[in-house]
């Protein structure tokens, strides 16, 4: 790739890129998700996963969990830019607050007969996945775990007849007695 000398610092290119999980507390008003997604695309930031639902119905407050990657200065910019949005109340960097609990849920459909079917059942039970639906030729499994566990499960299931995957993205919470309001 052509390396252009620009006004902008080359330094960020050689800084290590880290993965951060952010909890963003927002007013659940129309367009708020578009604002946040648009901020990421407009400024060239990455979204690895994004999970959102209203968490306090009476106050119309939603919690958005975003997994993003970037150098430390980019992560700092992302947080400052998010906090600048009018409907954003708070941004909490769960990666900085210590090892947060991070979980995601996936649904996996496998189709197969004979040994494939038996192997799929064995793997599912080894991972502790629940069987949500079964026919003579298929299963739908549900697995909740870390992103890495889910990735591993999907990779193995691919070998035994995986035909469809649906994932929620990460939900995360800091450990310890302190709560985020």
């Amino acid at each position: 790739m052509l390396q252009m000398k620009t006004h902008y610092p080359d330094a960020t290119r050689v800084e290590p890129v880290n993965r951060h999980t952010l909890a963003v507390i927002v007013d659940n008003e129309p367009g708020v998700l578009a604002r946040i997604a648009g901020l990421f695309s407009g400024r060239g930031y990455n979204i690895e996963s994004l999970t959102v639902t209203e968490t306090e119905h009476e106050a119309h407050i939603s919690r958005i969990t975003i997994v993003t990657t970037g150098t430390n200065s980019i992560i700092q910019q992302i947080k400052s830019q998010l906090e600048r949005l009018v409907p954003v109340h708070r941004v909490i960097d769960l990666t900085l607050t210590g090892e947060a609990v991070e979980r995601e849920l996936c649904l996996v459909k496998v189709v197969g007969k004979g040994d494939y079917r038996v192997e799929a059942m064995r793997l599912a039970s080894a991972f502790g996945a629940r069987t949500m639906d079964a026919t003579l030729t298929s299963f739908v499994y549900e697995l909740t775990g870390t992103t890495e566990e889910v990735e591993r499960f999907i990779k193995l299931m691919t070998a035994v007849g995986l035909v469809e995957v649906s994932r929620t993205g990460v939900a995360a919470m800091a450990r310890g007695a302190e709560g985020i309001v």
């Binding site: 252009m4 620009t6 007013d27 910019q77």
Partner: protein, 590 residues
């Protein structure tokens, strides 16, 4: 006490309650009920522009020269999309605006109805915040909140998109006790520990420089007063960005002139050599910093900004202070006085000696001529002949804009209205309309180029309609001068489409609008004709025919550092090989 009224009436009532005297707008189908409500009252005066972009720029000029928020009213679809350039301009330069756009009735939204567009979607990235009001119950709160959001924190434009059925619906309106947003509370007081550390750093500085920006102007006249006190108390040199001109008086001996790509030699070298940089309300824009890895290599940096995202965005700073400039300056001044700080006098004397050496290069010198009017000369004369008057300057974008920033000396804030961040050609004339409305008795001059002026020329008609005696001073070099200058420097003098073909006769054009046209092409006649322009109490277009090939210097070429600037070849600094100064990589950066 609440009253029952229609949505359209609520709009007008909310504007009255906010103390709005002028709004800039253009009617259309989706805002007819609001225009009807306007018709029934006198308090809010509507100014009919000739293009919606002009309405937004006029509101910007009004806001920047008066310190009050600008208000715009336009219709749906093309009304809203025409306003977009103006909104983006206000967003980049942090100008407080409230723009009310009409929208098709709620039940038609999303059906591709006539003159429908996704206004909140389109304007999401060029506004500070925007609202689509779908219920009459929300309308009073949203209208007042819009003013709060536009003015508090880092100011910016706010769009309120109002469907036509909501304008017709009746609901109850009461002026809210507070128009605060329920959660949005920007930090205005700076962190005292950081301010203390900043004062400590300043007290021990050997080669300090103040680098101030639009944040000081936006913070209000009080901030400018405090800035002057602090600068005089410390004895430090001060430079400012294009946006910050006027916050510190240009006639003062501590003033180094503007910095950046077309800033002065002394300002840029002071930035390069300083050991302590005090950034007040500026954002390290790329036109300021030049090559980032060579930017001010010896300095510790203090950065005061109301927007936390401006801090460490492109340039790393040592002491960040998030807060409003006026508040932080007040704390800085108090601490400086309390601690009876005395800077290192000997070091400062050395530093000033160095600066005076740079100043002696006289970087704004140019080759004078008796035959043709040099654009720099025209602006020097314009400045000299108007400086004792109550004068406000707006500009378009290009060479004339940079020359105006270099040769016009501003003594007060809010006197200089120019499109900085967005660089919008066509800004100056409508902005002058807004300025003249806010200051009816002042002398308002739009310093323009013959290319820029044609982008919003239709606003001459607005000026005539409202008896606004603004002056358009065109530096006519028959080129998009800045484009031509770049083509000379970067593209081998191949002037691709930058020649202003088929120019109108601007004097006749002025007359066609009902204004006055003045033309001048001889240096000897310039003074008399400028005086004639000033004496006319009607809109004037002054067609000043200037040297076609003059370039704007000093200049930091793309990809270069502050200490690698080009000076006018009159000074024998650049020679003939100016095209080779910028390398291939630099060409990417324009």
């Amino acid at each position: 006490m609440s009253e029952t009224m229609t949505g359209a009436e609520m709009v007008i009532r909310a504007l009255q309650d906010q103390g709005v005297e002028h709004i800039f707008g253009y009617p259309g189908g989706a805002v007819l009920p609001i225009y009807d409500a306007l018709f029934h009252q006198e308090k809010v005066r509507h100014v009919l522009v000739r293009h919606e972009q002009g309405a937004v720029h006029a509101a910007e000029g009004y806001a920047r020269s008066s310190g009050k928020p600008g208000v715009v009213l336009v219709t749906s679809g093309p009304g809203a999309t025409n306003a977009v350039t103006g909104l983006a301009d206000a967003m980049m330069d942090s100008i407080p605006l409230v723009c009310i756009t009409g929208q098709v009735p709620t039940h038609l939204i999303g059906s591709d109805a006539f003159q429908e567009c996704d206004t909140v979607g389109i304007t999401r990235h060029c506004t500070k915040h925007n609202y689509l009001v779908k219920s009459i119950e929300d309308l009073p709160r949203v209208l007042h909140e819009a003013f709060y959001v536009a003015q508090n924190g880092r100011p910016g434009p706010v769009v309120v998109d109002l469907p036509k059925d909501i304008q017709f619906k009746t609901g109850s309106y009461a002026r809210p006790l507070s128009n605060q947003h329920k959660t949005y509370r920007p930090t205005v007081k700076g962190d005292m520990d950081h301010i203390r550390a900043a004062i400590e750093l300043m007290a021990n500085a050997k080669r300090p420089v103040f680098y101030t920006g639009g944040g000081v102007v936006n913070s209000g006249p009080h901030a400018a007063t405090l800035l002057r006190e602090l600068v005089r108390l410390t004895g430090f040199p001060i430079t400012s960005t294009l946006m910050g001109l006027g916050a510190y008086p240009a006639s003062d001996k501590q003033w180094l002139g503007m910095l950046g790509m077309h800033g002065t030699y002394e300002a840029n070298l002071a930035m390069h050599e300083c050991d302590v940089m005090i950034n007040l309300g500026a954002r390290f824009d790329d036109r300021i910093t030049g090559r980032l890895d060579a930017f001010s290599p010896f300095s510790k940096r203090i950065h005061v900004d109301i927007d936390p995202s401006s801090i460490n965005k492109t340039v790393k700073v040592d002491i960040p202070i998030v807060g409003d400039c006026a508040h932080v300056l007040e704390d800085m001044l108090r601490l400086w006085r309390q601690n009876a700080q005395t800077p290192d006098k000997l070091a400062l004397k050395d530093w000033w000696g160095k600066i005076e050496g740079w100043r002696a290069r006289n970087c704004l010198a140019y080759r004078k001529s008796d035959e043709t009017i040099k654009p720099q000369y025209a602006l020097q004369r314009l400045y000299e002949l108007t400086k004792d008057r109550d004068v406000y300057i707006t500009t378009e974008v290009g060479q004339h804009q940079m020359w105006a920033a270099q040769y016009f000396k501003f003594e007060e804030p809010n006197r200089w209205m120019t499109s900085g961040g967005h660089g919008t050609m066509g800004y100056g004339l409508p902005a002058a309309v807004g300025v003249q409305l806010a200051h009816p008795d002042a002398l308002v001059i739009d310093i323009a180029g013959e290319a820029s002026i044609q982008m919003m020329l239709q606003e001459m008609s607005t000026a005539l309609q409202y008896n606004l005696p603004l002056k358009v001073f065109i530096l006519n070099n028959e080129y998009m001068g800045m484009v031509r200058q770049w083509q000379e420097l970067l593209h081998g003098g191949r002037y691709s489409h930058s020649y202003s073909e088929s120019l109108p006769d601007f004097t006749k054009l002025a007359e066609a609008y009902g204004g006055v046209g003045i033309r001048c092409d001889k240096p000897g006649e310039l003074d008399a004709k400028i005086m004639e322009m000033i004496s006319v109490n009607r809109p004037v277009i002054f067609d000043c025919i200037v040297d076609k090939t003059e370039n704007c210097f000093p200049m930091i070429p793309s990809g270069k550092a502050h200490n690698e600037m080009l000076l006018n070849d009159y000074l024998g600094e650049t020679g003939a090989d100016i095209g080779s100064v910028i390398d291939e990589k630099g060409k990417m950066l324009v």
